[in-house]
């Protein structure tokens, strides 16, 4: 299902409502829903539900979303240790925008970021709402290995790497929180439609949280 061709909070809200409404109806033949920025992907089994029938059900659902009450979004606080060896590119970002490192941290922690969708790798949130004053182009040469939990900036976007992976983002810090842990009851920490705020922590706190998590098996 396509809902428009832009990235906007209104569109996100609409997609979230349609997704929740479809889920609540437990329609036989619908296997999986993948909400995106401006679309909702529906995996269905044509042996259980015919295309025309599905389309007519979905059309009706779309007409009724205005009366559907969405659960209020949650805000999840992500602690981040900024700069140093955890965020080696924070000075690049500061210099690029003629700011101090402290100002970059203040701007980065003062926004509530909407989680538009998850994708790319397990638990990777596509966040909206970053302040353009800390925008910075990607690295010329991507790193081959970025540690899990790294917080970075790429152009006008900010994000968190849930897994160790290669990438060209400017790394400004790292969170001790695990966004993805397959052993946990809820393997994925964040959900589309919720908000993230970043909180600056020091190294002691970082180590504390990290060791607590490993004692609890990442729970």
């Amino acid at each position: 299902m396509e809902f428009g061709n832009e990235i906007s909070e209104d569109l996100n809200k609409k997609i979230r409502a349609v997704t929740a409404l479809i889920e609540s109806k437990n329609i036989c033949g619908i296997d999986e829903l993948v909400p995106g920025y401006r679309s909702l992907m529906i995996h269905y089994n044509p042996l259980l539900i015919e295309y025309e029938e599905l389309v007519s059900i979905l059309t009706e659902i779309e007409e009724h979303i205005n009366v559907f009450e969405l659960p209020p979004p949650e805000t999840i606080e992500i602690p981040v240790l900024y700069g140093g060896r955890y965020g080696p590119d924070i000075e690049n970002v500061a210099k690029h925008n003629s700011l101090t490192v402290q100002e970059v941290i203040e701007i980065h922690t003062s926004t509530k970021y909407l989680i538009y969708m998850l994708g790319f790798t397990p638990g990777f949130p596509y966040l909206g709402g970053m302040d353009k004053r800390i925008a910075c182009p990607r690295l010329d040469t991507p790193r081959t290995k970025i540690p899990a939990g790294s917080v970075g900036i790429a152009g006008e976007q900010t994000g968190i790497y849930p897994l160790e992976s290669p990438g060209g983002w400017q790394l400004i810090g790292r969170t001790p929180i695990e966004l993805f842990n397959p052993e946990r009851e809820n393997p994925i920490l964040v959900k589309p439609g919720n908000y993230i705020v970043f909180k600056s922590i020091d190294e002691e706190e970082y180590i504390n949280i990290k060791s607590k998590l490993s004692q609890n098996g990442g729970a």
């Binding site: 992907m41 969708m117 994708g119 790798t121």
Partner: protein, 342 residues
């Protein structure tokens, strides 16, 4: 029950089932067998559930020692399986004895073979599936391809070994090298391409390149023309989606594809033809043919019916233990059929 030992792992041997569903909205790839049909047939022959865990073997096969007696089935691409250096048949149940060695003498047809064990491979279920998702290092055997020295446990067979003999089927596909014909339903971003771009896809040959793996198959051929660029606002990607980035070369997205992406998708290879992609290897030639959604669903139903009737046929043959008796009562003879119905 029992164990197997990997003596050498081959090129890329992983534990797979039919995939990890329900987590695509969180960015977790589906993974699972690349050739679903071959994997399901291997399990059906071995008397397993269709989505039990088995081995997916890529081009160069492993060497495996059986530490106990087992019943196995090998399907998919022909990599020339041998047991103790004697060639063995594919698509039928094989009894193997403790100490025997399974090896593969090389690729003859197709790309991926599936090795099912009666009872399935016993690895932990991670987020609803036993499939290996290599990028996230989860599922399967320790989240990674098999290595020499690995020992895998096999579950309890559903059917006793004595009743396994004779379970077999024909391959539903031919995996012909030469031209692989893939049928495609247009969309969801076919409107991002010029008419000439769409025409190009359906009237030319594309070569499978070396950049082809469980994530996707990059093809090489005449460039496909966009109207205004290849970038879209990211959305979900289905198995078999034909993604065309700005360089104009199509990529067929496969089992380990990322869940979302920002490139235009001109069309989708129909489910029934996905096994042909999974069995294609670098150098093979692909031609695309346009097909409607109704026709694609009809073909899908035909394939599913075929798999179901095979399953019923094999399982009826096994479970029905029928005995015929002639009974004489008052000098009259009666034929009596006794059926074991569990």
């Amino acid at each position: 029950m029992g164990q197997i030992k990997i003596i050498s792992p081959g090129l890329l041997t992983t534990v797979q089932d039919l995939g990890r569903y329900g987590y695509q909205q969180y960015g977790v790839s589906v993974s699972g067998a690349m050739d679903h049909v071959a994997a399901r047939l291997a399990n059906i022959i071995a008397g397993n559930d269709e989505d039990d865990a088995l081995l997916e073997i890529t081009l160069i096969g492993p060497k495996i020692e059986f530490m106990d007696n087992e019943v196995i089935a090998i399907t998919g691409g022909d990599l020339q399986p041998h047991i103790n250096d004697m060639p063995v048949r594919m698509y039928q149940a094989l009894e193997v004895k403790k100490g025997e060695i399974l090896s593969f003498k090389g690729n003859k047809k197709g790309c991926r073979a599936y090795l099912a064990f009666a009872g399935g491979i016993d690895v932990p279920v991670v987020m609803g599936s036993r499939s290996t998702f290599l990028k996230a290092k989860i599922g399967g055997y320790e989240g990674r391809p098999l290595k020499a020295g690995d020992i895998l446990s096999i579950g309890n067979p559903h059917i006793p070994a004595s009743k396994m003999l004779g379970r077999k089927t024909d391959n539903f596909y031919t995996y012909d090298s030469g031209k692989i014909r893939l049928r495609v339903v247009l969309g969801p971003q076919d409107d991002a391409f010029t008419n000439r771009g769409i025409e190009t896809l359906f009237s030319n040959e594309y070569t499978v390149t070396n950049k082809s793996d469980r994530m996707g198959y990059t093809l090489n051929g005449p460039l496909i023309e966009h109207k205004n660029g290849a970038d879209i606002i990211s959305d979900g990607i289905a198995m078999g989606a034909i993604q065309v980035p700005s360089n104009g070369n199509p990529i067929i997205m496969m089992a380990d594809r990322q869940t979302t992406g920002g490139y235009t998708k001109i069309g989708n290879v129909i489910s029934v033809d996905l096994p042909k992609v999974a069995q294609a290897k670098p150098g093979d030639i692909i031609v695309f043919e346009r097909i409607g959604l109704k026709e694609a669903h009809k073909l899908y139903k035909q394939l599913e019916d075929k798999i179901q009737s095979l399953k019923e046929f094999l399982n009826n043959n096994i479970k029905r233990n029928i005995k015929h008796y002639n009974i004489k009562i008052n000098s009259k003879t009666y034929k009596v059929k006794v059926e074991e119905i569990y």
